[in-house]
Each structure stands twice: as C-alpha cells, then as structure tokens.
C-alpha cells in the first residue's frame, strides 16, 4: 500500500507567553521565561512548588457564550490555537466542514477545576440539584476535541488520545497516520491543558516537581543542568494542521515542513521512571520510518523536563544514538511543562526552527550535569542549515513518542 506524504501547513499556539505561534517563537528566541510565582499555590498545605507558567492575555469573552458554555479554559486555548492554524493554512469554510478535515486533540484529563466545582457541592450536600447542565461537557475526556470540532464544524473523525505528557505528539502521530493511510486529507492535531494545583501536586507527591526556586521562578526548570530539581507545570494549547501533500499542492498551500516519521512505544520497565533503552528504540523506529540514519538528523528537540532521572535517561539514549555532536535542547526551561500541550507547542517551535535555521538553546542550563554530558548542549542560539529534526515526547505510564520533521522538498 502506497502511503501518502504528510506536510504541515498551519500552526496555532496559546502558551504561557500569550496567544500565537509567532509570539511563542519570539519569546523562545529572546530567551524569555514564562514561569512566575503563584501566590495561590503557597496557600496549599504541603505543596512544595509555588511556581507555574500560566497563560496570560486571553479574554475568553471574545468567544460567544453559546460556544464557550461547554468549555473549560483548556478548550478555549485549543479553539484559539485551532483557529490560528486553520487561518494560517487558508482552510476555507467548505474544507473545514466538508468531512476531509478531522481532528486529533487530547488533554491529560478533563477539567479538574470543573470537577472541583462539582465535588465541592456534591460532597457537602450529597445532592445534584444545583449542578448545571454544562458540567459534563467540560470534564469528559474528549472535551477539547469535541468542543473544537463542534465550534468549527469539523465533520471528519474526532480523536482524543490521552497519554499524559505525551498526548499531543501521539495526537500528531494519529493525524499523520490517518492522512498517510488516506483516511483524511487534513487533520488538526495537538494537545491542550489548563493548570490546576492538583497537576503540580501530582509531580510534587512523586518528588518530581521543582521546589527549590520558588523565590527565583525564572531560574526553573533547569533541563540538563547540574542543579535541576524537577518539573514546573504550565498550560496552553498547541495545534498543527497536517495535510496530505496532494491536498496542499492542489490548494497551493504554503508548506512549512514535512512529517516523515513517527513512532510510539511503551517502556514497560516502570510506570514512572524512564529507561534509556526504550527511548532509544522509539527514536530508532521514527528514524527508520523516515528512511533516515541518526547521522542525518541536524537537531534533537528533547522532552527533558528538568527531572534528575528523566533528563539523564533521555540524554543517555540520545547520546547512544546520535553521538556527542548533534545539538540537543529542551524548551521547558523557557515555558515549563505544558503537559498535554507540551509536545505540540515544542513541535511548533521545531517547525519554526526548521524554517528560520535557528536552534534555540536550553534556558537555565548553566552547568551541564555530568549524567547529561554525553550529548551536545548548545548554550546560545545556533544558526544552522536545518534539514531534519527529531522531537521527543514522553509520559508517565511509560509512553514514548518521537516525530521526525524535515524541510519540505519535492
């Protein structure tokens, strides 16, 4: 069976830096930090992290109430990012609604804030009489995908993978495969999440959250750094419009990059602690699908969240496969870990890096850790003729993903 080539024709982002893929990339180029002290977190007994990267500058009232009523913040972020991606790709109304476009969009969980609203009332009164009708639509697992599809009239398939922090690269992978197999011509793909103290608590409880930089928020997280102490949670949405090359050509669409490989594997050695070997295998599978060798890759965009174990395992895997000269960086030092949105937001940045020939270094990397030193870690922006990038995205639960991007050529 002949698989179709899949290209990217649109990008959309809502990040802790604000709205827009351009805003995101400019902040990364400028080396900004989106991490801030959050006073609300300090009021929670036992919670170590008091920092997060929260979305700023979004006025939800811009979305009509009738559409917004079923949306928690993550769906709002996803809708805004989706509209941006479709607008950039000049996808007209007929194409949006005609069935050729589908969506693969996930989140780690449904809206925890909405669940909190429900249980606050329910546990006190053991009654559902005061529960409003929109609650379920905000907490269902496919809330973001359903809300975006409903609002934009996307009549193709609605997929909503949920694989914690690897959600959005899985979503991109599902979209890529659906197009490659000829099931859809276009897929809007990505992830979204909204911050809740429970998210930070989850990582704090398993001792994977950053807690030592509450008085210096912009100094954390610190991927690959000697003094890294864990994850900083953030929020947002990243959406990419994937399209068959035939469709993009027929429309005269501007092609930003090509997706030439995707792999997702399970690390069954542990539900929480990553092992380098399955990570390496996942990257190898993605490369094989792309028909590339490790030596062909110009840059590795790491998942690296700033945890002691995770960064070391990933850098060992990357070092084993790519050696000590291929540049590697993580973007979480700038914007924290946007959970289900992280993979897509970082993939968007990778597309921008590919288009502009710039490698963004890891923010807060002052002293590379010994355990992470098997790879090349740029300390400043590198200008390079980038042809190929591999993007990693991993999750608790042992989910590994890797995507190979390449500059489009006929």
């Amino acid at each position: 069976m002949q698989l179709r080539r899949v290209v990217i024709t649109g990008l959309g982002a809502v990040s802790p830096f604000g709205q827009g893929a351009e805003r995101l990339f400019q902040a990364l180029v400028d080396g900004e930090s989106a991490v801030r002290y959050i006073a609300e977190l300090e009021k929670i007994q036992g919670l170590g992290p008091h920092v997060a990267g929260l979305v700023q500058g979004i006025d939800i009232k811009d979305i009509p109430r009738k559409i917004r009523r079923t949306m928690s913040p993550m769906s709002v972020y996803a809708l805004l990012a989706s509209q941006e991606a479709l607008d950039q790709a000049l996808v007209d109304q007929d194409l949006r609604t005609g069935g050729r476009l589908g969506i693969a969009l996930g989140s780690t969980v449904g809206s925890v804030g909405t669940m909190e609203d429900f249980f606050e009332d329910f546990l006190q009164n053991r009654s559902i009489e005061g529960i409003k009708s929109m609650l379920f639509f905000k907490i269902m697992g496919h809330s973001c995908a359903a809300n975006v599809a409903q609002t934009l009239g996307i009549a193709g398939r609605t997929l909503a993978p949920s694989a914690a922090c690897a959600t959005s690269c899985q979503a991109v992978g599902l979209g890529y495969e659906a197009i490659a197999l000829g099931k859809q011509d276009l897929m809007l793909c990505g992830g979204a999440d909204e911050f809740h103290p429970l998210t930070a608590a989850t990582f704090d409880i398993i001792q994977a959250a950053s807690t030592q930089y509450n008085d210096r928020p912009q100094c954390t997280p610190r991927p690959f750094d000697r003094d890294r102490d864990g994850i900083v949670c953030s929020e947002g949405a990243g959406l990419l419009l994937l399209e068959s090359l035939d469709s993009a050509r027929a429309r005269g669409a501007d092609i930003l990059a090509e997706i030439s490989g995707f792999a997702s594997t399970s690390d069954t050695s542990s539900i929480a602690n990553p092992d380098p070997e399955p990570v390496r295998l996942c990257m190898e599978l993605a490369l094989a699908e792309a028909g590339l060798n490790a030596a062909d890759i110009d840059y590795v965009n790491a998942h690296a969240t700033g945890t002691v174990q995770g960064d070391e395992a990933e850098s060992r895997a990357i070092g084993d496969l790519f050696g000590a000269h291929t540049p590697v960086s993580s973007l979480k030092g700038h914007m924290g870990h946007a959970m289900a949105a992280s993979g897509a937001l970082e993939l968007i940045a990778c597309v921008k890096m590919l288009c502009t020939g710039q490698i963004i270094p890891t923010r807060n990397l002052d002293n590379p850790a010994v355990g992470c030193s098997a790879v090349a870690l740029p300390r400043q922006i590198e200008n390079k003729d980038l042809q190929t990038i591999i993007k990693n995205n991993f999750a608790l639960g042992g989910v590994n993903c890797a995507i190979v991007l390449r500059r489009f050529f006929e």
Binding site: G130, S133, M134
Partner: protein
C-alpha cells in the same frame, strides 16, 4: 416581595447567567428566537431561579410550556406566591 421586584430579580439573574443585555429582556421576548437560549440553557435557568428565589422547580412539567419571558415571570410569581402561602 412585589411582582415587579420578582420580575426585576428574574431579569437580572437571567441577564447575568446568559450574558444578555437587560434591554433585550422585554416581556414578549422569545427564549429561543429572540434570546437565543436552548433546552440546555433552560436546565441552568431553573437552577439559577431556584437559587435566586429559594424555590423548588426541579423537573416541573409546567416549565416546558414556557416560551417567552412573560411566561417565565408569571411562573415565578405563581411559584413564589405558592411558596409563601
């Protein structure tokens, strides 16, 4: 509470919940055609009014017959008076 006060409080609660302009809330306004509300909004309207007036509406079949704002005003006035009596 006078009937006018009930009408005023009803309109205020609805305007806030459904982000409507008070000027739209004329007695003849159709919930569906003029105010753009649907059956899911009706469910939430019941909750808002129960909380506003401390009354019990629940799944009262009479609520299903309400079409325009004046119908709702009459319903709430009757309900409130019945509660007081």
């Amino acid at each position: 509470m006078t009937n006018d006060e009930i009408i005023e409080r009803t309109n205020t609660a609805i305007a806030e919940e459904f982000e409507l302009d008070m000027n739209e809330l004329v007695p003849s306004a159709s919930f569906k055609d003029d105010l753009g509300l649907d059956s899911l909004d009706a469910v939430d309207m019941v909750i808002v009014l129960e909380q506003e007036f401390g009354i019990k509406i629940g799944k009262d079949p009479k609520i299903l017959r309400i079409r325009q704002l004046s119908d709702l005003h009459s319903y709430v006035i009757d309900k409130k008076n019945a509660f007081l009596n």
